[in-house]
């Protein structure tokens, strides 16, 4: 009914946090206070992966809802908002399916970040080993 709204809301928050993080990272580079000795992927880049998954997924699911006539181009945009019974059902779906969708994407993203960090660290380690040979 409107399950994609939860992921879209998370996308808005993560996009805002990403912008702040990007500014912080840029400031650190300009002031040369980025003392990261180890090789790692910047947080803003990792957050970029999450925002793309959330925005992309929400956009495609929003299209599915338009297809099924659950989202309309006029106020209040969600057909379920027309009566209290449908609205209650919609909120229940958002709390179950919607939260489940946003949670799964976030969990997969956390796994992606861990694997990506491990790959980068392994590459750096191999480069150091090659250099010392």
């Amino acid at each position: 009914m409107a399950c994609f709204v939860v992921s879209a809301a998370e996308a808005v928050i993560v996009t805002a946090v990403k912008k702040v993080e990007e500014k912080k990272e840029l400031k650190n580079v300009e002031n040369d206070i980025d003392k990261h000795e180890d090789v790692s992927i910047p947080w803003s880049r990792k957050m970029g992966w999450l925002t793309k998954m959330l925005w992309g997924g929400s956009a495609l699911l929003a299209f599915e809802h338009v297809w099924h006539g659950e989202v309309v181009p006029w106020f209040p945009f969600l057909t379920a908002m027309s009566n209290a019974e449908d609205a209650a059902e919609m909120f229940h779906e958002m709390a179950t399916v919607g939260v489940g969708m946003a949670s799964l994407i976030t969990v997969v993203w956390i796994g992606m970040c861990a694997v990506a960090d491990a790959i980068v660290k392994r590459s750096a380690k191999e480069a150091v080993e090659k250099a010392t040979m």
Partner: protein, 104 residues
């Protein structure tokens, strides 16, 4: 069916991204879009399965055709978003080159 079609699109895009020579085609955006939608539809499918049990795997022919049509439309929409973004960001400078050429 929509989930299945989107997962296939996600896997194909991931393989294309893995074999890319450079990042000029910006396949990452398409890849994340398909995987994001696949994960979201997976959750939807799990909830539906919990409700319908084995009946979930025997959909009516009409529903299957509609879902397939929807799946293909979703792929088309994602491809349009990707290609529009590619033309706007113009990482290879092809659009710029074409515009400059036509100006001269």
């Amino acid at each position: 069916m929509t989930l299945l079609i989107t997962v296939f699109a996600a896997v194909i895009t991931t393989v294309l991204w893995y074999n890319r020579k450079d990042d000029s085609m910006k396949l990452g955006i398409l890849l994340f879009m398909f995987w994001g939608a696949s994960l979201m539809w997976l959750v939807d499918a799990l909830f539906e399965y919990a409700e319908l049990k084995s009946a979930y795997f025997t959909p009516a022919l009409e529903d299957m055709i509609n879902d397939s049509f929807l799946g293909l439309s979703v792929i088309a929409l994602a491809l349009v978003i990707w290609v529009v973004r590619l033309l706007i960001t113009d990482p290879k400078g092809s659009v710029r080159a074409a515009l400059v050429r036509s100006k001269n």
